[in-house]
C-alpha cells in the first residue's frame, strides 16, 4: 500500500478532495465522523410555534442563515425579535462578491472586486443539494429563484501533474474507460467460471448482459474502439450531416494507464449523497438568499454591531455591544431569551455566563482553513475553446478545483471562474499570502490546465476564511472524540441561552445545518417560553 501511494500522483495531495469533498469539506468530515454520517436533512416543513407568550422576546446574535431563519419564524410566531449583526450586510457566510464590492480582511488588506455586472464569486457555500429541504424551502418562501448547479460535467477535466504528461483528461473518457475495462474483466471472470461459487448460472447470464450494457462492451464482451464505446467516451470524429457525416470511433485509454493515473479517484465526484443531481444555486449568486432574508427582516437587524459581552440573569439575557462605526460605545440589547449564532472562534472570546459544559464546548471546535479565488477573464474561453459549460475540473495541483460558472452560458464578454477551492495545509499557505499573491498563484497553477489563463486574465479576488473578520475560519470541524464529549453540551439550552449554526449540527459546513439547528433550538426555546408563561 505504501508503494502504491508513493507512486500515485493524486495521493500526494489529500486525495479526498477528489471525491467532491473539496467543496463541501463537510462531506469528508461527515464520512469520517462515525456520528456524523447522516447528511439527510431532518427538515419536515415549516415549524409550528403556536402559543407564544404575549410580549415574549428573543435576542438573536448573528444575521447569518441560522439567525435569520430563527428570526423569521419567531417573528411570525409573535415573538419580539431583534438581531445584532457584526457585518454591514445580512447573510454571514451566505455571501456573493460582485463587481463594485469592497472586502477588507483581517490584517487590513482591502480588495476591490472589479468583476463586470452580474458576475460574482461565492466565497462561501455555492451549491444546494436537492435534499436540503430546509434552505430550499426558505429560498422558495423568500422568492429567490434557483437554477441548476452542475456538479458533474462529463466534458470538464480530471488532471494529475504526474499522469498523461500533465495533460488534463476529459471526465467522460476516464469514466467510460474505467467502467468499460472493469466490465470486461468481470465478464471475463464470469465466463472463465471464476464466479461460479458466487453467482448462479442463471444470474451469470444476466450479469453478462448487464456488463455489456454497463461497460459498452462488444459482442465478445470486450471493451474496444467502437461506436458503442465512443458513444460513452466521445468519438475521434463526431457524427455529422452530409458528406462528412461518418463518425470515427476513438481509442480507449488502456486499463493500466487509467489505473496508474489515479484519475479514477475523481469518478465518484457526483456520487456522494450531497453531490448528487439535482443541485441548485440561486440566480445571481448564493448571497441572494441572505439578501432576501435581510430585506424580509428589515429593521429587526441592527448592523455594524459587535457583541462584547453576553450576560444572562433570572429574567433574560443582555448583550453588550458597540457600533463598529463608532467604537468604544456601550450599547445594550435585551431579550427574555437569546439565540446565539456567533461562530465559535469569535464566541469563545466573548465573556458569557453559561455553565462550564457549554463553555468547554465552545472552545473545543477548531475551524478549518479554506480559500477560494474568483478570476475574471476577458472571454469565456472554457466554453468557446473547450466546450465546458459549468461543472468542476479536479486537479492534484494545490488549487484543487476550477469551477466554471453554471449560468450565463454563451453570454458575450467576460466570465468569472472559481480559480481555486482549497482545504488543509495548502489553504493555510494561501491564507498566509497577500490577496494579490493568492490570485497570482491560482493563475499560475490554473494555466497548467487552461493555457489561455495568462492571456485572458482580467482581475481577481481571493477570500481566505481564516482572515474573514466575522468568523476567523471556514467551518467547525468536529472530531469523533470532541463530538462525543461536547456536542450535546453545545446544543443544550443553558438557562436562557441557546446556540445555533452549522457548528451545532451534523450537517457541518452546509447551510442546511444552520437552518435545522436554528429550528431545533427555537423549538426548544419556545417550549421553555410557553412553560414559563407570559411575562409577569
Amino acid at each position: 500500500m505504501e508503494k502504491d501511494a508513493r507512486s500515485a500522483p493524486l495521493s500526494r495531495r489529500e486525495l479526498l478532495r477528489m471525491i467532491g469533498v473539496t467543496a463541501g469539506g463537510a462531506a469528508m468530515y461527515q464520512a469520517m465522523d462515525s456520528l456524523g454520517f447522516s447528511a439527510e436533512s431532518p427538515y419536515q416543513g415549516p415549524i409550528d410555534l403556536q402559543g407564544a407568550p404575549k410580549g415574549a422576546s428573543v435576542l438573536i446574535l448573528g444575521a447569518g442563515i441560522a439567525g435569520m431563519t430563527a428570526a423569521y419564524e419567531l417573528r411570525n410566531a409573535g415573538y419580539q425579535v431583534q438581531i445584532l449583526e457584526y457585518n454591514a450586510r445580512a447573510g454571514g457566510r451566505n455571501w456573493s462578491l460582485r463587481g463594485g464590492d469592497t472586502y477588507t480582511e483581517l490584517g487590513g488588506y482591502t480588495q476591490h472586486c472589479e468583476f463586470d455586472k452580474d458576475l460574482y464569486i461565492n466565497p462561501g457555500p455555492w451549491r444546494i443539494p436537492y435534499h436540503h429541504r430546509g434552505i430550499l424551502s426558505y429560498a422558495k418562501r423568500l422568492n429567490v429563484p434557483l437554477e441548476a448547479f452542475v456538479q458533474v460535467n462529463y466534458n470538464a477535466y480530471l488532471h494529475s501533474t504526474g499522469a498523461f504528461g500533465g495533460k488534463p483528461q476529459r471526465f467522460r473518457e476516464i469514466k467510460a474507460d474505467y467502467q468499460g475495462h472493469v466490465a470486461e474483466l468481470l465478464a471475463k471472470a464470469t465466463r472463465q467460471h471464476a464466479l461460479d461459487t458466487a453467482v448462479t448460472p442463471e444470474d451469470q447470464e444476466k450479469l453478462l448482459e448487464s456488463l455489456r450494457d454497463w461497460g459498452a462492451l462488444d459482442k465478445n464482451y470486450a471493451y474496444v474502439a467502437s461506436e458503442a464505446s465512443s458513444d460513452r467516451r466521445g468519438f475521434k470524429k463526431n457524427p455529422g450531416g452530409g458528406l462528412t457525416a461518418v463518425p470515427i470511433p476513438s481509442d480507449p485509454i488502456g486499463l493500466s494507464d487509467i489505473l496508474n493515473s489515479k484519475l479514477w479517484e475523481g469518478i465518484p465526484s457526483g456520487d456522494t449523497f450531497d453531490m448528487q443531481t439535482a443541485l441548485f444555486q440561486p440566480v445571481g449568486g448564493m448571497g441572494r438568499i441572505g439578501e432576501a432574508f435581510g430585506r424580509e427582516l428589515g429593521p429587526i437587524i441592527r448592523y455594524n454591531s459587535k457583541v462584547l459581552e453576553i450576560r444572562q440573569d433570572a429574567h433574560g439575557v443582555t448583550a453588550i455591544y458597540e457600533d463598529t462605526k463608532s467604537p468604544g460605545g456601550h450599547l445594550e440589547a435585551r431579550g427574555d431569551w437569546c439565540l446565539c449564532t456567533i461562530p465559535l472562534p469569535v464566541l469563545a472570546q466573548i465573556p458569557m455566563n453559561v455553565g462550564p459544559a457549554m463553555t468547554a464546548a465552545i472552545g473545543a471546535v477548531p475551524y478549518a482553513s479554506a480559500i477560494k479565488t474568483g478570476l475574471q477573464f476577458k472571454r469565456r474561453f472554457w466554453e468557446e475553446d473547450e466546450h465546458i459549460y459549468g461543472g468542476i475540473t479536479y486537479t492534484d495541483l494545490p488549487i484543487t478545483n476550477i469551477g466554471y460558472p453554471n449560468t450565463g452560458y454563451h453570454s458575450g464578454g467576460k466570465g468569472v471562474l472559481l480559480g481555486c477551492y482549497i482545504w488543509g495545509l495548502n489553504a493555510m499557505e494561501f491564507t498566509a499570502m497577500t490577496p494579490p499573491e493568492r490570485v497570482k498563484k491560482a493563475l499560475e497553477y490554473g494555466s497548467q490546465i487552461h493555457p489561455q489563463y495568462m492571456k485572458e486574465f482580467d482581475n481577481g479576488v481571493a477570500v481566505a476564511w481564516h482572515r474573514v473578520p466575522f468568523i476567523m475560519g471556514c467551518m467547525g470541524m468536529w472530531s469523533t472524540d470532541s463530538r462525543a464529549k461536547h456536542y450535546e453540551a453545545l446544543c443544550q439550552i443553558d438557562q436562557r441561552i441557546a446556540l445555533a449554526g452549522e457548528h451545532a449540527s451534523y450537517i457541518g459546513g452546509w447551510q442546511e445545518g444552520a437552518v435545522t439547528s436554528a429550528l431545533d433550538a427555537i423549538g426548544r426555546l419556545h417550549q421553555r417560553a410557553v412553560a414559563e408563561g407570559s411575562k409577569a
Binding site: 500526494r12 454520517f37 483581517l106 456567533i342 477548531p366 482553513s369 481566505a464 482572515r467 476567523m472
Partner: protein, 158 residues
C-alpha cells in the same frame, strides 16, 4: 429502518475514507514542481521560520502583529503569555478557541483538516515566535521537552 440503512452507508464510507487516509499518511514526497506549496504529509522538513511564514502568519499576521475583527488573533509581538514556553507549545499542539491543533498524530489530522507538526517542529516554531517580532523571551525549547506535554488525540492514537 431508515436509521440502520444510513448507519451502514456511513460506516462503509468511513472505512473507504480511512483506507484512503492511510495511504495519504505514509506519503512524504513533496510536490515536485513547486517550492511554495507542500503536501500535508510532506511538511516534516519545514523549519520554525517556514512554519510561521506558511501557517501561523495566516492568522497571527506578518511580524506577529495579530488582528482584530469580531474577535481577535492575539498579537504575538510583546505578548506576555509567551513568557511561558509551555503555554505556547500547548497552544500549538492542542489549538485554542477555534485555532486548529497541530499536535495530532499524523493519521488523525484529516478528520479536522489540520496539519501534523513533529515535536521538533513545535519546539522550532515556539522558539521562533519567542525570539522574533522584538520578543526576547528566555530559554529555548527542545523536542524532548515538547514530548513531555500532553498531545491531543494521544489516547486514541491507535
Amino acid at each position: 429502518m431508515k436509521v440502520s440503512a444510513v448507519l451502514t452507508t456511513g460506516l462503509v464510507t468511513a472505512n473507504l475514507v480511512m483506507a484512503a487516509l492511510v495511504n495519504v499518511a505514509v506519503v512524504h514526497v513533496a510536490h515536485a514542481d513547486d517550492s511554495t506549496f507542500t503536501s500535508t504529509a510532506g511538511y516534516g522538513g519545514a523549519s520554525g521560520a517556514q512554519i510561521y511564514d506558511q501557517i501561523c502568519q495566516g492568522c497571527h499576521m506578518p511580524e506577529g502583529a495579530g488582528a482584530v475583527g469580531a474577535g481577535h488573533y492575539p498579537k504575538l509581538a510583546g505578548d506576555p503569555a509567551l513568557t511561558s514556553w509551555q503555554y505556547v507549545a500547548l497552544t500549538v499542539l492542542g489549538g485554542r478557541n477555534g485555532m486548529p491543533p497541530f499536535g495530532l498524530p499524523v493519521d488523525q489530522v484529516m478528520e479536522t483538516r489540520t496539519v501534523h507538526l513533529s515535536d521538533e517542529q513545535v519546539a522550532d516554531v515556539v522558539n521562533y515566535v519567542r525570539s522574533h517580532f522584538g520578543n526576547k523571551y528566555k530559554g529555548t525549547v527542545t523536542a524532548s521537552q515538547v514530548a513531555t506535554l500532553p498531545h491531543p488525540g494521544a489516547a486514541s492514537a491507535h
